[in-house]
Symmetry: C2
Subunit: 204 residues, 2 copies
Amino acid sequence: MKNITSQQSKVLDCIQIHIKKTGFPPTRADICKELGFKSPNSAETHLRALEKKGFINIESGTSRGISITNPEAEVQEDEYPIIGLVAAGSPTLATENVEKVFNCPKGFFGSNFDYFLRVRGLSMKDAGIMEDDLIAVKKTQDIRNGDIVIARIDDEVTVKYFHRHSPNIVHLQPANEEFSDIEIDLKETELFIEGKSVGLIREN
Amino acid sequence: MKNITSQQSKVLDCIQIHIKKTGFPPTRADICKELGFKSPNSAETHLRALEKKGFINIESGTSRGISITNPEAEVQEDEYPIIGLVAAGSPTLATENVEKVFNCPKGFFGSNFDYFLRVRGLSMKDAGIMEDDLIAVKKTQDIRNGDIVIARIDDEVTVKYFHRHSPNIVHLQPANEEFSDIEIDLKETELFIEGKSVGLIREN
DNA sequence: AATTATACTGAATATATATACAGTATAATA
DNA sequence: TATTATACTGTATATATATTCAGTATAATT
């Protein structure tokens, strides 16, 4: 996305405003009227420049065939799958585990994420994570001590605090007195980190 | 909004899909192509029917001048204020207490709500409500025993479980051993119920 | 010094598009 | 029974619209 000139920016604004106001994009003539141009070619050349720079897309031979390339600045809602926390067995993101999809704006929790995990059990109760809560999971290996991770040990999926104080020993710590720490020797046991929690949603 | 026929519904869907896909509404010909009509007048009459019933608006003499009257059915994101839990003094929803606004689709938590409350303290810790969490508050007086309410006693705002087992005695119960019940005699003390919690959001 | 991008006017035109008119047919309503 | 709504085909056309071509002028690059 290259830099935009002052006039091109006005034209881009004009398009956005027209769509918001009327529901459909402007014609060349509409733009001229709005911005005071006397020739439709003034609008045309600006549109071509905006297209070349990647701000808009022009459908050739189509009336009002202008679409704004980057609606990121706008709403951008997306569907995220809700995955049931399967006790054992199948891999986490398998299709059969998708409970339903949940509409949530992108970047709702500041950072991006990949899916929601439906919480089972109360092992993270003291971290305010309750049964049936939805954890927003970001698939990443960039984990720091104290992060809440979604981990897989021997096909069992669990949500815990992550702590690693020596190279081969990882502690998966619950937030509930009734549960005890899981200590994992990476030389003996395989640990797969699915991702980490970046947010939480609870529906009452 | 009158009832819609099956064919008209298809045409309406077609318009919505076209806008979503291309960024601009379809022409009569586009609709024909999509739905298999052989005459542009087929689309035209359906459009007129949809306009008459209030589902769409048609800008006369304008190419692709179709706009959908009720975009409610679509995404419908809205801005909700985040209110800081003020310890004492000013009324809760006063403008000076608005921390910022938060974009969230309407009906995100199943039911509607009015604002987000930023949680201070850990009095509801065992209910999984932690410091800095955002509680989705629905302003209502329709409270049942066990609901999490936002209550005001003498200008102090608090979040607690609501219990009323006799007509004049209300218990506001925390979810934390370190806090004790608040018993309110409605004949002596004024209790104002701001609303109840319908959901929760946590940003990690 | 030559080229390219920006920023316009003005005119011309092929075609994309809305829209009216003429029919046919069926189901619902008054 | 007459009327209206629905659901189409098919043709025609005025005009809305994209788009090209011919210019003029200034600022920014190469």
